[in-house]
């Protein structure tokens, strides 16, 4: 029972210490809150940029036009051949009739022109709409499809797609760098604030050592105190990011500028970010204080 009683004392001491050193605790909690709020903003931005890019990437399609005289069986064979390529995600057949219908909807002028043709005389070609898994190698996949028999033409927005992929990759890299840099800054800020809190209790640690407290007995309350400070410090940024993001999401109706760019659903992202903030706060808090107190255990 003794170890449990000692542990209970350590946890109780940690709580007492948070309240007794109230102003320093508030300073630590505020510092943790500010840095974690920045981390939360960076995380939300990254998650959304990630979604924009993947949404747009998903929209990139290879349009495979099929030669006019191709039979039903040959069309099926072509599908099977395309599906065999590694990079293929989905493949969808669109008949020239369907294309005619959708084009007719775009403008009256087009509808008039296309209306002159019946099923037999439809000048449009049947198509396969192919979506790829990796947009970066879309060019290679398109080239392979182009070489297949009964393929009249292959279009995927050559040049533009590559450009887009390049830009997205740069944006992602910048976002990751910002998140990592903020993470490092957070580590330093939190651990330094907690160090200042502990430096003020140098005398207490010295006396604890002198009356015969073991190093682990002295360190444990600080470890728990770090957890408490980190946890409390993470609450405000969690509340702010949850409230702020839901507010923004509802205000913008879930889309940014155009319906192509949709925001990540709050249900999906906020729980994950809240847990991440809580873990960062408590783990960094605990280890920063545990590490800081070690300096004073050499008396």
């Amino acid at each position: 029972m003794k170890p449990f009683r000692i542990l209970k004392n350590n946890i109780k001491d940690a709580f007492k210490s948070v309240f007794r050193n109230f102003s320093l605790s508030i300073a630590s909690i505020s510092c943790i809150s500010i840095t974690l709020a920045l981390v939360a903003v960076a995380m939300l931005l990254t998650v959304n940029v990630e979604k924009f890019t993947s949404d747009i990437e998903k929209d990139v399609t290879i349009v495979v036009s099929i030669e006019r005289e191709t039979t039903e069986e040959e069309i099926q064979n072509l599908k099977a051949q395309i599906e065999e390529f590694e990079n293929i995600d989905t493949i969808k057949f669109i008949s020239n009739e369907e294309i005619k219908k959708s084009m007719s909807k775009e403008s009256d002028e087009l509808a008039n022109i296309l209306g002159q043709y019946n099923n037999e005389t439809n000048p449009l070609l049947n198509e396969y709409e192919v979506k790829v898994k990796d947009v970066e190698t879309i060019g290679k996949t398109a080239k392979k499809i182009k070489e297949l028999e009964h393929v009249y033409s292959v279009k995927y927005g050559e040049g533009m797609v590559e450009q887009l992929v390049k830009i997205f990759n740069i944006v992602k890299k910048v976002m990751y760098t910002i998140v990592i840099a903020l993470g490092v800054v957070t580590l330093f800020l939190i651990s330094n604030t907690i160090k200042i809190t502990i430096n003020n209790r140098q005398r207490q640690i010295e006396i604890e050592r002198l009356v015969g407290a073991s190093n682990s007995y002295i360190k444990r309350p600080y470890f728990f105190e770090g957890i408490i400070l980190g946890f409390l410090g993470s609450l405000l940024p969690i509340l702010i990011s949850c409230w702020g993001y839901i507010f923004l999401y509802e205000k913008l109706d879930g889309v940014l500028f155009t319906s192509v760019i949709t925001l990540v659903n709050p249900d999906k992202v906020l729980l994950m970010i809240s847990i991440a903030l809580m873990i960062i706060g408590t783990v960094v808090g605990a280890f920063a204080s545990y590490h800081a107190v070690r300096r004073y255990l050499k008396i």
Partner: protein, 228 residues
């Protein structure tokens, strides 16, 4: 083996000052020893070696059979639990009550609340501060703060009580009150080692006196007074 054995101990600080030279000293269980000397004679260094706040440069320091000179930092607590230390500056925690300051020395053992309460109040009774257990240290006089420090030192029933100039900051009347308490603790069986340069106290109590001069043990009198 005696309770405390100091054999051929030298202490030289990093700045080159030699604080102790070839010190040999034996203290038996139940002894009361005054360690006297001028400022910078090495009294405090000798005392600090006993509770391992300092390590000797050379030599052995046995306390209760353990060579504290060889004790690792992480194991120092083992020896400190056997020793009660009273400091000139009391070393009380200002944000804890009198009770908490004393009880702290027991909490580290993981004792039951009721036992901690009982033993803390007993220690406070010995020093005559039972009725001030709720006070904060800054509300107490110097003498009262030193009594709290003594209560904390003895609450764990240590075999040895080390006092480093315990009356250094107190007026003569309060000093004598403190000495009465320390003397009683010694009479109850605890070995007391006390560094002081208070002539009146040393002369009044007529205990064993070890005299240091410039880091050298120059005299060891079984029942002496304060002599140069």
């Amino acid at each position: 083996m005696n309770l405390i054995e100091v054999n051929n101990v030298y202490k030289q600080y990093k700045n080159g000052i030699t604080a102790l030279s070839d010190i040999n000293l034996s203290i038996a269980k139940g002894d009361f020893v005054f360690i006297i000397g001028q400022t910078a004679s090495g009294k405090s260094t000798l005392i600090k070696l006993l509770y391992r706040q300092e390590k000797p440069t050379k030599g052995e320091v046995y306390v209760g059979g353990i060579n504290v000179a060889k004790l690792r930092n992480s194991k120092v607590y083992k020896i400190r639990r056997k020793i009660g230390v009273v400091y000139q500056d009391y070393k009380l925690l200002p944000n804890m009550t009198v009770f908490e300051n004393v009880a702290f020395a027991l909490e580290i053992f993981g004792l039951k609340r009721s036992e901690i309460r009982e033993r803390t109040m007993q220690a406070l009774e010995v020093v005559g501060l039972k009725d001030k257990f709720r006070s904060m240290p800054d509300k107490l006089s110097g003498g009262e703060q030193q009594r709290v420090s003594i209560a904390r030192a003895i609450v764990n029933n240590p075999r040895i009580l080390i006092c480093d100039e315990p009356t250094g900051n107190l007026d003569p009347k309060t000093s004598l009150e403190i000495m009465e308490i320390i003397d009683k603790i010694n009479k109850d069986g605890t070995t007391v080692i006390m560094a002081t340069h208070d002539k009146d106290i040393v002369n009044k109590y007529q205990k064993r006196v070890v005299t240091l001069e410039k880091g050298i043990l120059v005299k060891d009198t079984p029942k002496g007074g304060y002599t140069k």
